[in-house]
């Protein structure tokens, strides 16, 4: 026996009743209500903490029960089994285990799941989509940051021919064309677009002491193209942002975007290392020492450090004395050992 409130579904009137279960029959009795139904025809809501439970009849009537102990005893006796999730929801041990597994799952998604998913999608992205993304990106950059290149036609022709030599034979994924631009705002740099175009800035050409250094950078960018890094970074960034918004977005969207940037930094660091390894292989195959790329990187770092104020704070000081750039330079120089003897 358990006290309950009965509502007939046609009216909002409340009937104080007592319910009992015997021989597979649910009996509702009191305040003029007299009802008897087979338990199998009644849908019994799962228990959610101490919230009242509902016994719903086919015709829209229902009972609201707050006496959980009495109802559970009756249901157990009648052989009604609790669902698995229902049981887990009321166990502190299950809660602790779930907490642990949630943290582990987030970790695994960040380290393997998202990169793997982005890799699979990026490799199957229709070329038309990546071409359009690249075109609109370059258009936007041309309006804001980039200017036409001031290199003369012969120099461009020379570099384009050298660039063509960098393409590995039989790799159809890499069919890049070279774009020349100038940008005093960005400084010495080159970058790859998702469709495989590589943009080379005059400032980088000026900083290089020989053409092999430029080819080193271009081979590095071709590495990004080969591994679809541009598209993968775009997809991974979107995935991280989406997940962060789902996780803390209702607290604050800003809170979601701050760590997103930091979380993505690791992804781009991994990609740089991968593109360096690709560049080293390309250069070695052409008999160019990979340290040429390291030389240029070194000069870029020095130029940046030279520009720095002395009043720099501890944080950025730590970051620049401890950037992965040094590791990259070191690794490229070590790759020289793999050059075939002359």
């Amino acid at each position: 026996m358990a006290a309950a409130a009965y509502y007939d579904g046609q009216t909002a009137r409340r009937y104080e009743v007592e319910i009992s279960i015997e021989g597979g029959l649910l009996t509702v009795q009191g305040s003029g209500v007299q009802r008897c139904e087979p338990l199998s025809a009644v849908s019994i809501s799962e228990r959610l903490g101490q919230a009242p439970r509902r016994l719903q009849f086919d015709d829209g009537a229902h009972c609201e029960v707050r006496d959980h102990a009495a109802l559970e005893a009756m249901l157990a006796q009648a052989g009604h089994r609790q669902g698995l999730v229902e049981r887990l929801q009321h166990s502190w041990r299950a809660a602790a285990l779930s907490l642990l597994l949630c943290v582990l799952a987030a970790w695994a998604a960040y380290y393997w799941g998202i990169p793997l998913g982005a890799q699979l999608i990026a490799a199957r992205m229709p070329p038309a989509v990546s071409r359009q993304i690249s075109d609109s990106t370059l258009q936007a950059l041309d309006q804001v940051l980039l200017e036409p290149s001031k290199l003369d036609a012969a120099r461009r022709e020379w570099l384009t021919r050298g660039f063509a030599r960098l393409h590995p034979a039989g790799d159809t994924a890499v069919s890049a064309n070279l774009e020349f631009r100038s940008s005093p705002k960005i400084g010495p740099n080159a970058f790859a677009l998702p469709d495989g175009s590589v943009v080379l800035l005059d400032q980088l050409v000026a900083l290089a002491q020989n053409d092999d250094e430029i080819y080193g950078v271009l081979a590095h960018e071709l590495g990004h193209v080969h591994y679809h890094h541009g598209m993968r970074l775009l997809l991974q960034g979107s995935a991280v942002a989406l997940l962060m918004t789902a996780w803390v977005g209702d607290v604050s969207t800003l809170l979601a975007t701050l760590p997103t940037g930091l979380l993505q930094a690791r992804y781009s660091r991994d990609f740089e290392a991968q593109a360096d390894a690709y560049a080293a292989d390309t250069l070695l195959a052409l008999g160019i020492p990979p340290s040429r790329l390291a030389d240029l990187l070194q000069r870029m770092v020095e130029q940046r450090d030279h520009h720095k104020d002395r009043t720099e704070n501890a944080i950025s000081g730590y970051l620049s004395s401890h950037p992965p750039t040094h590791e990259r330079i070191l690794r490229l120089r070590q790759a020289d050992a793999r050059l075939p003897p002359q």
Binding site: T11, P52, Q89, A106, V251, T311
Partner: protein, 364 residues
């Protein structure tokens, strides 16, 4: 001669809403469902949502009876897939091309009012109290007027007409809501909306000036710490990181206080105004949210969620739900037993009629 019946007082007692949920109880439900949602790549989250709403509805008690949520997980899942597709279209439309971006925006503008109307309909149809369902009967034309017309009109009027459109939106929403056979109605005036918005904007400007002065001082201090525009090997991650302390400072000193203040002030004042001027048939509501209490709950919840990396949120949700629910009082015009009895007669058929009207629940 009228007989005086002492068991049926003419002025019934106001009924205060009670909330019986607890943070630790909800944490157990939440974490198990969160894990299942993660393991199923988000699909189970529709089931998790139904449990969340059922828990919060059932824990809400008015006059000895609790509310109930009847939404079905599969219907919610369907709605979420549509919502996700729209979100992807919106996010990547402009990345693909301007034409696709503009087209997707137009599509969204054309679809959103109907989706929002359907979502209101779904939510109300799936809510019940004492075995009687709520309903929403707003028309599609009305939805285009208040959602699309309101958005465009607010922007075109430089937000000067925003309070008016907000009032029209609430009118559309509440005047078309029913509990059984009884209709809700909304009677706040435009002036009341303008008065709350006006005071809010004035306070916001005052706060902003104060905080910007503070931030300006800080920017001066941080100025020396920023590296010049660097010619880095790769996009200026280091420069960005160097600016991080300043960005964090700006966030915590200017952005967050302003956002919390706006959310608490407008949330408390507007919700109080709206519900205090809503009636269910002859019965009134009184809703007294205090902006200060709400601000305290927002700020402390935020700190809790940040420090716990998100795992405090079940407690945060319960705290907020409790304060919101318990600020609501129903003031019956006739004895509550009487309200209930009056509504008994013709409700049955309506419940059946509406069984097929809802389409999808769009809310994330």
């Amino acid at each position: 001669m009228v007989e005086f019946d002492q068991t049926q007082p003419l002025r019934p007692e106001p009924e205060v809403v009670r909330f019986h949920g607890s943070g630790s109880e909800y944490f157990q439900i939440w974490i198990v469902n969160l894990l299942l949602s993660i393991l199923t790549l988000g699909i189970y989250s529709a089931w998790a949502k139904v449990r969340r709403l059922q828990y919060f509805y059932r824990c809400t008690e008015l006059a000895g009876a609790s509310f109930e949520y009847h939404g079905k997980p599969l219907t919610i899942l369907k709605g979420r897939i549509v919502g996700l597709l729209l979100l992807l279209l919106y996010r990547f439309g402009f990345k693909i091309s301007t034409a696709v971006g503009v087209l997707s925006l137009l599509l969204l503008a054309a679809l959103l009012p109907i989706l929002l109307r359907n979502s209101l309909r779904f939510r109300l149809y799936n809510s019940s109290y004492r075995g009687l369902r709520f309903r929403f009967t707003g028309s599609a034309a009305g939805a285009y007027g208040v959602f699309l017309g309101g958005a465009v009109g607010s922007v075109l009027s430089l937000y000067l007409l925003l309070p008016l459109f907000h009032k029209l939106l609430k009118e559309y929403q509440h005047d078309n809501s029913w509990y059984g056979r009884t209709r809700f109605n909304f009677n706040a005036s435009v002036g009341q909306f303008y008065s709350i918005y006006g005071r809010g904007v004035l306070m916001f400007l005052g706060l902003l000036v104060l905080l910007l002065l503070l931030a300006g001082g800080a920017a001066f201090m941080f100025h020396g710490l920023m590296p010049p525009r660097v010619a880095g090997a790769k996009p200026d991650l280091h420069a960005m990181l160097a600016m991080l302390p300043f960005l964090m400072f700006l966030t915590f000193v200017v952005y967050l206080p302003v956002v919390f203040f706006l959310a608490a002030y407008f949330g408390a004042r507007l919700q109080s105004l709206i519900w205090t001027h809503t009636r269910l048939g002859e019965h009134r509501f009184e809703y007294c949210l205090s902006a200060r209490r709400l601000l305290w709950i927002y700020v402390s919840n935020f700190v809790g969620v940040v420090l716990s990396l998100g795992f405090y949120s079940p407690w945060a949700m319960v705290r907020l739900a409790r304060y919101r629910a318990e600020s609501m009082t129903l003031i019956p015009a006739t004895p509550l037993a009487g309200i209930v009895a009056d509504e008994q007669e013709q409700v049955g058929a309506i419940g059946e009629e509406t069984a097929s009207v809802f389409d999808i629940d769009i809310s994330f």
